[in-house]
């Protein structure tokens, strides 16, 4: 029997993979993908509890998250493209202009 605990473990694992990906990877595209992993980990949680509690609100939330993620992806990719055109790189270490 698959209990909410399983779903939460999967979700936590996905979340951690995403966070670590954001932390350690230098390629901004990979970081972007890692953020998608984080969002989807949340989605799994929402869906799991929606099914568990027999409440559609969680699924509606998940749809919202997917929509926001799509918008975020569009904006983020645009930024990356613009950045690439300026610096000819997608290395995150080069993106340190906003410091003291």
């Amino acid at each position: 029997m698959i209990t909410p605990t399983h779903y939460m473990l999967l979700s936590a694992a996905l979340f951690m993979i995403g966070v670590i990906g954001v932390m350690i990877r230098r390629n901004i595209i990979i970081i972007f993908m890692s953020i998608e992993l984080i969002l989807n980990a949340v989605n799994i949680n929402l869906i799991a509890f929606s099914a568990q509690l027999q409440d559609a609100v969680g699924q509606v939330f998940a749809i919202f998250v997917i929509a926001v993620a799509a918008a975020e992806a569009a904006v983020g990719l645009g930024i990356i493209l613009a950045f690439y055109r300026n610096k000819e790189t997608v290395n995150i270490d080069e993106m340190n202009l906003m410091r003291w």
Binding site: V22, M23, I31, M95, N96, L97, R99, W100
Partner: protein
């Protein structure tokens, strides 16, 4: 007679139109015609008013008219309490002012006509300006003589001084003219100071400015014989004013310099009218002066000394106008002598005759100057008789009149004064007779040097071209001294010689041309006009003046002949009509109507008696009183007349001998008495004395005040400034150290303290994410633990 206020108003209208519109847009002819028309209208009104005045009974010949209110009932403290100051624009026509308006408008009209020709070479706007000033002068002069109270008179008094200043400085680009105007104005101002103080004193004593009220009040006061009371103080102050306006010692110095003005101005203002204002004012206040016999004595002494001094200076002057100027001062001295000895009618009579013959002489000299193209030095004239027949004839009449030859006008008026002086004080009479001799001498010297002898001026054939080039070579000499570079001229200046050598001639011509150029520089545009002006472009030698100039000469000559017949003395079978006519102006009127009748009569009656003692019957018009005494004095009077005519003839003969038949005598005399000659030539060094004492003193005191200003006032200001600088330096120090220090310290502290924190801002996204992660981790841990 109700319209006497129009008499001064017409010239004012002329002045306003010429001044506001004329200067910009009138031609010479229009400006002159307008001014003349106004004066003719004024003269006509004056004649009508005078005629109506004559129609009144003798004792009622006075007419007051109030044109407009001026100063309404202002409470003002007087000597006796609070009075109401109420001064109207009032005019008063009585015998004295009637005589004066006739003189002013009559002579004024003739001089206006004369000026239209004399000023024809001036630039267009200048002519309108000239006529504007001249009309304005006539307005103020008529205000002066017609005013019925001291304040209206003072308005006129100041106004004529202003116009005198403006007209003396008419050629204001010429420094000497501007200086002369300034000198006249400042000297007059000293006199005006005395006059206005006298007027103030009159108000504080009598509480009114009205002539009649003042006279009636003064007549009721006791005569101040042997001491100086309030009336004496008033009279003395008024006399100070008169010395300024009428050029008496010690304030006469401005009048000779006033000759810098155009000649018609000299004739009108500085001979016929304005300078007699002081005499008129004394006559107007005759009642006051009669109450102050000590001041009368001062007036007589000052007058006779001025007459002598000015006449003696006139003996040696070379500038034709200056001789006449000193002559004017001298004749004014006569008038004051007359006033001082109590012969007010004689003074006013001489004022009138003098206006005729001195205006005539000035206009004649203007004609001569015009003919000689600006030359004023008599040493460069001579033998002009044949070129200027009309000018010569009329000037000769004027000369004989001023010398006192029977039966010209000067004879009657001067002999009246001499006779009154003789009765009053023999010493004064003696000085006056010496002066009469000098008058005859210097006037005939002027005539001889100008019209007789040999011609000593520049030649004129083909002088036109050569003159300019020589003038250019020699540079422009001072205009009043055109012979400055002619050494040869200087040597034989008084010696008659035949036609001068060519060398000298060209010098003279150069001087004249240079003078014309100088005048041209002084008045822009005159140069072009002078050559196209009225057809004598390059100078063609002396020539008779045009009709507008000769007509006034002839009219004035007629006046100089006949004016005396209104005052034929009783001794010669006349009735001395003018004295009888003027008498009401010199006595207090309506004394009977005053409440204090008895005391007033008691005070005035002995006065009249006392005067009757010193001035026996002939002084009074009625030949009935005192039989034998009158007879004796008639013999004395006839003797005196014969004597003074003799003196005049002697003066003329001597001058003729010195300057025509044996010209070398005067030269020898001048060398023998070199010291005296130099003293006279330099006018007793009075100008130098005044320059050293008064002008120099003013400068010195001004300089010492300036030093005080620089040291004390500037020192205080600068000290304050320095103090402020020092204190603000300390203030700045505080500001810099404490305030700035605090601000900077705060900034510095924040900077220092933020050193560590700003390291957090790596700019690396992953660092931020890591920190966020730690943060979340920490908070969640905290949450879990704390729960």
């Amino acid at each position: 007679m109700r319209y006497i206020w129009l008499i001064p108003l017409l010239p004012l209208a002329g002045a306003a139109i010429n001044g506001l519109i004329g200067i910009r847009s009138f031609s010479r002819r229009v400006a002159g015609a307008l001014a003349c028309a106004m004066m003719v209208g004024s003269l006509g009104l004056s004649l009508v008013a005078f005629w109506q005045l004559l129609g009144l009974p003798h004792d009622a010949r006075a007419y007051d008219v109030v044109v407009a209110p001026w100063i309404p009932n202002i409470p003002l403290a007087t000597h006796t309490g609070i009075g109401l100051l109420n001064v109207p624009w009032g005019f008063r026509l009585d015998p004295l002012s009637g005589l004066m308006i006739l003189v002013v408008t009559g002579v004024g009209t003739l001089i206006h006509v004369y000026s239209t020709a004399y000023m024809a070479d001036e630039p267009r706007g200048g002519v309108a300006r000239f006529f504007c000033y001249l009309n304005l002068f006539c307005f103020f002069m008529l205000m002066l003589v017609l005013g019925s109270n001291f304040l209206v008179m003072f308005v006129g008094w100041e106004g004529v001084g202003l116009c005198s200043y403006l007209l003396i400085g008419y050629w204001y680009e010429k420094k000497s003219a501007a200086d002369a105007g300034k000198k006249a104005f400042i000297t007059n101002r000293i006199g005006d100071w005395g006059f206005i103080l006298g007027v103030f004193l009159i108000y504080s004593t009598f509480g009114t400015f009205d002539f009649r009220q003042v006279q009636n009040a003064a007549a009721a006061m006791p005569i101040e014989t042997g001491h100086f009371g309030i009336l004496s103080a008033i009279c003395l102050l008024l006399f100070v004013g008169a010395t300024g306006k009428s050029a008496q010692i010690p304030l006469y110095v401005w009048l000779p310099d006033a000759m810098e003005g155009p000649t018609p101005v000299s004739a009108l203002i500085h001979a016929a009218t304005m300078v007699t204002a002081g005499v008129y004012m004394l006559g107007r206040n005759a009642v006051l002066f009669q109450q102050a016999p000590e001041v009368m004595t001062i007036v007589a002494i000052v007058g006779v000394l001025t007459a002598l001094m000015a006449a003696s200076i006139g003996l040696v002057q070379y500038d034709i106008k200056r001789v006449l100027a000193y002559s004017t001062v001298s004749q004014l001295g006569y008038m004051f002598t007359a006033m001082g000895v109590g012969a007010f009618s004689a003074g006013a009579f001489h004022l009138m005759t003098h206006a005729f013959f001195k205006a005539l002489l000035f206009l004649g000299s203007g004609s001569v100057i015009h003919a000689m193209a600006g030359e004023q030095d008599m040493r460069h004239m001579g033998a002009l008789k044949k070129y200027l027949p009309v000018t010569f004839a009329t000037m000769m009449i004027g000369t004989l009149a001023i010398a006192g030859i029977v039966p010209l006008s000067g004879f009657f008026s001067k002999d009246e004064i001499l006779f009154q002086a003789f009765l009053h004080n023999k010493a004064i009479w003696a000085i006056a007779v010496v002066t009469a001799f000098m008058t005859a001498f210097y006037m005939f010297r002027l005539m001889s040097m100008t019209f007789f002898g040999a011609y000593r001026g520049p030649s004129w054939e083909s002088a036109g071209h050569a003159a300019v080039s020589i003038a250019a070579l020699h540079g422009a000499p001072h205009p009043t001294d055109p012979h400055a570079h002619g050494k040869g001229h200087k040597k034989d200046h008084e010696v008659t010689h035949g036609p001068a050598e060519p060398h000298d001639e060209s010098h003279g011509a150069g001087a004249i041309a240079a003078f014309k150029t100088d005048r041209g520089a002084g008045a822009p545009g005159v140069k072009d006009d002078a050559h196209s002006g009225h057809g004598h472009g390059p100078w063609h030698g002396p020539h008779e003046s045009p009709t507008p100039m000769t007509f006034p000469l002839m009219a004035l000559a007629v006046g100089a002949i006949v004016a005396g017949f209104v005052g034929v003395p009783a001794a010669l079978g006349g009735n001395n009509a003018i004295e009888h006519f003027l008498e009401p102006s010199f006595t207090a009127q309506h004394v009977e109507a005053r409440p204090s009748t008895s005391s007033g009569r008691a005070d005035t009656e002995p006065a009249a008696a006392g005067r009757a003692d010193t001035q026996p019957p002939a002084a009074h018009p009625e030949p009935v009183e005192g039989g034998a005494e009158a007879h004796a004095s008639r013999r004395v009077e006839l003797g005196l007349m014969a004597f003074s005519v003799l003196i005049a003839v002697a003066g003329i003969a001597l001058a003729y001998r010195f300057y025509v038949t044996k010209p070398e005598i005067s030269q020898q005399l001048a060398e023998r008495w070199a010291g005296a000659h130099r003293l006279l030539l330099n006018k007793y060094y009075v100008d130098e004395l005044y320059g050293a004492t008064i002008v120099g003193g003013t400068f010195r005191s001004a300089r010492s005040l300036w030093t005080v200003d620089r040291k004390v006032v500037d020192g205080a200001v600068n000290g304050t400034g320095k103090l402020t600088v020092v204190s603000s330096w300390f203030s700045g120090l505080t500001d810099r150290t404490i305030v700035d220090g605090a601000v900077n310290f705060v900034g510095w502290m924040i900077q220092e303290s933020s050193h560590g924190f700003r390291r957090l801002q790596t700019g690396l996204v992953q660092n931020y994410a890591l920190l966020m992660l730690f943060g979340i981790f920490a908070f969640v841990s905290l949450y879990l633990i704390a729960r």
